[in-house]
């Protein structure tokens, strides 16, 4: 069954790139640049939602495909939006659009740098592109586009430390890209193709040529570096903390998810047989990440840095869920990824808003102590975000946590589950601690400066974008049904990798090309092999009853 041709798949990639070019032409007018960027971001967001809806409409195997330049599949680059890619792209483009909305009312000096908005849009294009692409080399190209544009934005940040963080990141991330490229070259040598679907076909025969497994492991390591999983995380807190607020919001919430997307894509379609080993590694790394991230977040004296460390911990939760690997656990991982993106970007932008109230734009907790005393609205938003991150009932974080715990109980790995729940408590502690510091303390008396410019005409950033994101968190918490259903469908599609492979290759099969023996049979119509088990997220079954 062929995937449906759908030119909208091109939208989330081409619109931001076009917008970036337009922004470069408008470099004389910073205001107009920001507006054009926002429009491009919203249009990309719309396109990605259209793709997701088309995917849903087409039922369980509706994979949307666009063949670049009209080339038939094994010869040209193909963009594939299956449910996983479409869902991730919607998440990414919504957060990028929120970041661009924040840029509109942001007073950081670096945003006036003429290349800043084009770089932001390029980051968005790279993000969507790396989700949609069905070709490993194009994946590398989009990943590099994303990395390089984020490096530019951090290097010009207002904080003078941004440059140092950018140098650190560009070297470490460069090593990741190098491993990825090496893996791509090795896979190409082995299988003679770059299309993910064909590689999945070749792996599905069960044969393992000499270079295939090392290549796939290089992929995994590269992805772990890109998503800052604990032994490879050294760049992340510095790089994210020094980034300008809107960029930090995007980096810490969706850019780190690209690596996770790569891991899911790889373990589900190529490395099905090596899955057990990889999953054990992921569980161990995830647990280390949960505790390392949580404990360092507790002792950090900078609100932005704390959230960056918190991302380490949250990525740990996601990795544990992927490591459990049951269908339910993958559902949990997807829900977690989706919800965390909104919570974390909302919280980060709120922190940026609060930090913009002091003249130094510092996010140091000692500078922030009590600075939010009068800001009732922001205080409530921050508390909601913090509670959502910790997984307190009415908000969407609760849904992620419930699905995670439920899937852990499903695979009966009680020790890991206990550690995960204990790690979840750390989130509660560090979020409430920061909230108290910022919003509940008495502001320190300005004793040293008698001529303190108490009512200087200082403009602070607008809390509109984070308010929308936090509102999305609340809505996703109350009306969680659609997301859960969608995640179930996605997980079911992940569980049958032949759908992805055959949707892309159907055209090739019809034109009479042969597939390797013993691989997925793409000739007949396809059904999802295992009927998706309904997920009683809210009905906690008591074992043994």
């Amino acid at each position: 069954m062929a995937g449906a041709e759908n030119p909208w798949v091109l939208g989330p990639i081409i619109i931001p790139l076009f917008g970036a070019a337009l922004c470069l032409l408008l470099s004389q007018n910073n205001r107009l640049q920001r507006i054009v960027a926002l429009i491009a971001g919203l249009a990309a967001c719309l396109a990605s939602i259209v793709v997701l809806l088309a995917n849903l409409e087409a039922g369980s195997v509706g994979v949307q495909i666009y063949r670049l330049g009209g080339w038939a599949t094994p010869f040209g680059i193909v963009l594939v939006a299956d449910k996983l890619a479409a869902l991730f792209c919607v998440m990414g483009s919504i957060v990028v659009a929120a970041g661009l909305l924040y840029c509109l009312q942001c007073h950081d000096k670096c945003l006036e740098y003429p290349v800043f908005m084009p770089a932001f849009l390029c980051m968005g294009a790279g993000l969507s592109g790396s989700f949609y692409t069905g070709d490993i080399f194009t994946f590398f190209v989009f990943l590099e586009l994303m990395v390089m544009s984020s490096v530019v934005m951090v290097a010009v940040a207002d904080s003078s430390l941004g440059l140092e963080a950018a140098i650190k990141y560009v070297f470490i991330s460069g090593m990741g890209s190098l491993l990825l490229l090496l893996g791509i070259a090795a896979l190409y040598t082995t299988f003679g193709t770059l299309t993910m679907a064909q590689i999945a076909q070749a792996f599905s025969t069960g044969e393992r040529p000499l270079l295939a497994v090392p290549a796939a492991l290089m992929f995994i390591i590269a992805f772990l570096i890109k998503s800052a999983v604990v032994p490879f995380h050294f760049w992340q807190p510095d790089f994210h903390t020094t980034a300008p607020t809107p960029v930090h919001g995007v980096l810490s919430s969706v850019v780190v998810k690209v690596g996770i997307y790569g891991i899911i894509r790889n373990t589900s379609s190529y490395l099905v047989q090596e899955g057990d080993l990889i999953r054990t590694i992921l569980i161990v790394l995830g647990l280390v990440g949960i505790f390392f991230g949580g404990l360092t977040a507790l002792r950090t004296w900078n609100a932005k840095r704390m959230l960056a460390y918190s991302t380490l911990g949250q990525v740990g939760f996601i990795l544990v869920a992927i490591g459990w690997g049951s269908q339910l656990a993958i559902v949990a991982a997807i829900i977690y990824i989706f919800n965390h993106a909104f919570i974390k970007s909302g919280l980060l932008m709120l922190t940026g808003v609060i930090a913009s109230h002091n003249a130094k734009h510092s996010a140091d907790l000692k500078d922030l102590a009590g600075s939010g005393k009068g800001l009732k609205f922001i205080s409530v938003l921050y508390l909601v975000g913090g509670l959502a991150l910790a997984g307190v009932p009415p908000f969407n974080g609760f849904m992620s946590k419930v699905a995670l715990v439920r899937s852990g109980a499903g695979v009966e790995s009680w020790i890991v589950l206990g550690l995960v729940v204990a790690g979840g408590l750390l989130t509660m502690i560090y979020m409430t601690r920061t909230w108290q510091w910022i919003f509940q303390q008495e502001p320190p008396e300005a004793e040293d400066t008698g001529h303190a410019p108490a009512h200087a005409p200082h403009k602070s950033d607008s809390p509109l974008a984070p308010a929308l994101l936090i509102a999305a968190c609340v809505l996703l918490g109350i009306f969680a049904g659609p997301l859960v259903t969608l995640s179930e469908d996605t997980a079911a599609q992940i569980a049958s990798p032949e759908i992805y492979a055959c949707s892309v290759l159907a055209q090739m099969v019809e034109s009479g090309m042969s597939l390797p023996e013993g691989s997925y049979d793409c000739t007949g119509g396809m059904e999802i092999s295992a009927a998706p088990t309904a997920l009683p997220v809210l009905v906690m079954e008591v074992p043994g009853r």
Partner: protein, 112 residues
């Protein structure tokens, strides 16, 4: 031919890693570029010499053409590695002006 490429790739990997781990940021950037070139060389070895005649020419009847995909990949990879190298050198240049040193041990204000 492939033995030659294997040896060359190995030597360049060694040199690249050695340079990358040095304290001098400019030398580290050079190491980064050497490593990328080593990977490019590996990719070239992956398919460029399988054929006997160039691809997309009228000599196709004379034998197996060499793989054009590898050449396309290489061109892209070279552009990307050159671009990253330029970006790194630019960053190192600014940091050298700011810290008046390219020693990575003196560029260490980020803590916490």
């Amino acid at each position: 031919m492939s033995i030659l490429f294997a040896v060359a790739t190995g030597i360049m990997f060694g040199l690249g890693i050695f340079q990358l781990l040095r304290r001098d940021l400019v030398k580290a950037a050079m190491g980064f570029y050497t490593l990328f070139t080593a990977v490019n060389l590996f990719m070239l070895a992956a398919g460029a010499f399988d054929g006997e005649v160039p691809a997309y020419t009228d000599q196709l009847a004379n034998g197996q053409p060499s793989d054009p995909v590898v050449q396309g990949l290489l061109l892209t990879a070279i552009v990307i590695s050159l671009g990253s190298y330029c970006l790194i050198l630019g960053l190192v240049n600014v940091s050298a002006n700011r810290f008046e040193s390219v020693d990575s041990h003196e560029v260490d204000q980020l803590k916490g």
